[in-house]
């Protein structure tokens, strides 16, 4: 038992606050948009130059001039705006985006993030990830707790090239939720049916356990 992708996305949506401007990465992070709480205004930014990103279009309504940063067709909303890439990353680098939710290959207990490159394999590039983690106020990672071979992804130290150092605030995995702050890495929530022991076995990083769970 552990959280599904949908449950992870649902949990991530609980980080939204009314009035937030949010950038969502490709993959599970994109799914988080489906769980914006009723009555809450959350505006999605797409770093290729759009604020107020709408849902995917109905078949036949797609517009090749209207895509998100994952190059998927999207739609606009009444209050959308378009701008160039320099303005878009000014927004990001300048700290105007409240929250970024991204995927990861590795996260270290000090908040280091690696999510763009595996040396020796073909390198695709970092796209906007380095700018996002450097500039956005709060960085939340959603990831499978372990790689396909079972190796832990939440580590004492990343061994892949970094996307940013000390940039991650929160990790949501199928195992639970980990906060990274002044007191190091703290397990604050456990997925249904997962024990602290199991979390420890599947994690390389050192972490403490929040009182609510330890009890």
């Amino acid at each position: 038992m552990a959280w599904t992708r949908e449950q992870m996305a649902q949990r991530a949506a609980r980080e939204f606050r009314d009035g937030y401007y949010v950038n969502l990465g490709i993959g599970i992070p994109t799914m988080v948009a489906n769980y914006i709480p009723e009555g809450m205004t959350v505006t999605l930014q797409s770093e290729n130059g759009m604020l107020g990103m709408g849902p995917f279009p109905y078949p036949g309504d797609e517009d090749p001039d209207l895509i998100n940063a994952g190059k998927q067709t999207i739609t606009e909303l009444a209050d959308s705006s378009y701008f160039d890439s320099a303005t878009s990353f000014g927004m990001i680098r300048g700290g105007h985006i409240d929250l970024s939710i991204l995927g990861a290959m590795q996260v270290a207990q000090n908040g280091d993030l690696a999510n763009w490159m595996i040396p020796g394999k073909m390198v695709k590039g970092m796209g906007g990830a380095m700018d996002l983690v450097a500039g956005v106020k709060q960085v939340v990672i959603i990831m499978d707790h372990n790689a396909r071979d079972g190796s832990p992804k939440l580590l004492k130290e990343c061994n892949l090239p970094l996307t940013g150092a000390g940039v991650v605030d929160l990790v949501i995995s199928d195992v639970g939720v980990f906060e990274i702050g002044g007191s190091g890495l703290v397990l604050t929530e456990l997925a249904d049916g997962v024990t602290v022991d199991e979390a420890r076995k599947r994690t390389d990083a050192d972490f403490s356990v929040a009182a609510e769970i330890a009890a």
């Binding site: 130059g49 001039d65 999207i74 160039d84 906007g128 380095m130």
Partner: protein
Amino acid sequence: MDKVFPDAPSALNGVVKDGMMVMAGGFGLCGIPEFLILALRDTGAKDLTVVSNNAGVDGAGLGLLLETRQIKKMLSSYVGENKLFAQLYLNGELELEFNPQGTLAERIRAGGAGIPGFYTKTGVDTVIADGKEEREFNGKRYILETGLFADLAIVKAWKADTSGNLVYRKTARNFNPMMATAAKVTIAEVEEIVDPSELEPDQIHTPGVFVQRIIRGGGYDKTIEHLTTRERA
């Protein structure tokens, strides 16, 4: 001073040289100068350094210039959609300089605005910082990045007027406006060329001073990379 040229080959006439640096607008295949890329391929110009956020896909966009081995070096933020790119790069036939997307955008904007260098926190403590000056401002660490200015920029807009004022459409805007400012010669291809009176002065995205030549492209491919839809309720 007539800025309007009959087609892409004539617009490129006299401005293309082996070894030049070319900026090409677009994000993925969205907002790319399709006709100018084709015409640039047909010039046969070699050893090009190309600044573009992506490298097209196999058989489309800048992928066409990779097939003909006309590109010596690329400055990009993401090239993951192109298998030929991977092959050329791994064979050592292509140089590659990765720039974080926001750093790339800002370097181009800076080049066009006469800013030779600026500091950014993007990339601090990563391989991107290697060999770059690091400096503190207010106790935080930043690295020095430089402005980019090319010999030629090829950009795609929605509409142009005959004075070179440009208007872009939706997310096809992306890198095009900055690139239009950051080259000795900027050529814009558009879907429609209109009389200046038809564009509202308050709504022009690229003022005509930045654009030396204009062509109208006809019959755009506008390939969609990831067609994604939702079900009708």
